[in-house]
């Protein structure tokens, strides 16, 4: 496809991504991940009036002992504002998956301005994300998502995704579900949905054109996951625009020269 121009590693990662719709890898900067997790635990403790924990992972896993479904969203919004206010956060987040992103999306990227955070309490019905693709909700088909767990995520504590082949069949028949709802779409493809196991220390990079979502968390502990979108800077945008939603993060010198260049003018014709 690329005539051997890609490195062997990049080509292998790209093939896996196209085949499965996702890749799961160990984060590329473990101290940065630990810093993010520790800061989130500190922000949570502060918001709840609790002492800071020395074991952030188990503290976050057990947050349902302190947060109810009724006050979950204000708490979540406070957590998002707190971590996005850290000047180092977005650089750290990007650094967790920089090489994989370069292989999959390119080395001149736009990054979502504010990473989202999902907190899913055990047995909570109010924070469900029904089966969807981001593209159906206004994202560009050129985007990919880096999904980052702060706790170990598996089974219903994680997200599901439809593999590319099943997704193609489901998407082709989508209009049939107008009136029946996306829950019916999920039920009809439930057996093909794959719940991804992504442990703390790993990230998931997935194709948001594939149908994905979550179900009620039937595990005993709380899910904490970030999601943040990346795309090639010069690829087409949809409803999520450059500036209001995305920001350039890795502009290269040749591009800067090109953006600033003006042809000589003043000719009389």
């Amino acid at each position: 496809m690329t005539g051997g121009f890609l490195s062997k590693d990049d080509a292998a990662l790209g093939e896996a991504f196209l085949r499965d719709g996702y890749v799961i890898r160990t984060v590329e900067d473990r101290p940065a991940l630990d810093r993010i997790q520790a800061r989130m635990a500190a922000l949570a403790a502060e918001a709840l009036g609790l002492d800071a924990s020395n074991e952030p992972k188990s503290f976050l896993d057990g947050i349902h002992r302190h947060v109810t479904p009724e006050n979950l969203n204000p708490f979540r919004v406070k957590m998002i504002a707190g971590i996005n206010a850290e000047p180092w956060f977005r650089r750290a987040y990007y650094g967790l998956a920089a090489q994989a992103l370069a292989a999959i999306a390119g080395n001149e990227l736009a990054m979502q301005r504010r990473a989202n955070l999902s907190i899913q309490l055990p047995e909570d019905e109010s924070s469900l994300l029904p089966a969807h693709t981001d593209t159906w909700s206004g994202d560009s088909p050129f985007e990919v998502v880096v999904w980052l767990p702060l706790v170990d995520c598996r089974s219903t504590k994680s997200m599901f995704i439809l593999p590319p082949e099943a997704n193609a069949r489901a998407a082709a028949g989508l209009a049939r579900y107008d009136g029946k709802g996306v829950e019916a779409l999920y039920r009809d493809h439930e057996s093909e949905a794959k719940f991804l196991t992504v442990d703390y220390g790993q990230f998931l990079l997935f194709d948001q054109n594939l149908i994905h979502g979550n179900r009620i968390n039937r595990e005993k502990t709380t899910r904490w996951t970030f999601n943040c979108r990346f795309k090639g800077l010069f690829t087409p945008y949809a409803d999520k625009k450059l500036g209001e939603f995305f920001e350039p993060i890795t502009l290269r010198p040749a591009t800067r020269l090109g953006l600033a260049y003006k042809l000589p003018d003043g000719f009389g014709g």
């Binding site: 479904p69 009724e70 969203n73 019905e125 109010s126 924070s127 029904p130 969807h132 593209t135 159906w136 909700s137 206004g138 989508l174 209009a175 579900y177 107008d178 009136g179 029946k180 709802g181 996306v182 829950e183 949809a238 409803d239 999520k240 625009k241 209001e244 939603f245």
Partner: protein, 137 residues
């Protein structure tokens, strides 16, 4: 259906395609709804985002199936409801049948009983008429 006392929250409903030719970023739609909920003492539930495909109301239908478990829905604008009047009336009926409320944040309108339908429809019908009217006089 849950009893009215045990239902909690209003599902926010925002769009990802232009409404009558006008586009509002999703973040701004969410801000308007959050502000409306805060001012009116409503518990905000995370937004359902309508799909971008023209004429598609799958997410709205999804919220309709959720109505028996919640207090109602807050849409960004009432002009996000279906273009076809009969489809809008089906939506109104679902709210009335489940004893839930439909709020439109931008217009600060609320539909709680059959009499409120007239106000929603007046706004809709005038808007549709204006869209067909000559733009230059």
């Amino acid at each position: 259906m849950k009893s009215e006392a045990t239902r909690v929250g209003y599902r926010a409903y925002i769009g990802s395609r232009p409404i009558h030719g006008s586009r509002t970023p999703q973040a701004v739609q969410n801000l308007v709804i959050r502000d409306y909920c805060q001012k009116n003492g409503l518990v905000y539930l995370l937004s359902a985002v309508e799909y971008t495909m023209p004429g598609c109301y799958m997410m709205l239908n999804e919220v309709m199936t959720e109505l028996p478990r919640i207090e109602g829905m807050v849409c960004y604008t009432l002009y996000m409801l279906p273009e076809r009047a009969e489809r809008r009336h089906e939506i109104y009926r679902r709210f009335l049948d489940t004893g839930t409320a439909l709020h439109a944040a931008l217009e600060a309108q609320v539909l709680r009983d059959a009499e409120d339908i007239g106000r929603f429809e007046d706004l809709w019908l005038v808007r549709q008429a204006l869209a067909r009217a000559p733009k230059v006089v």
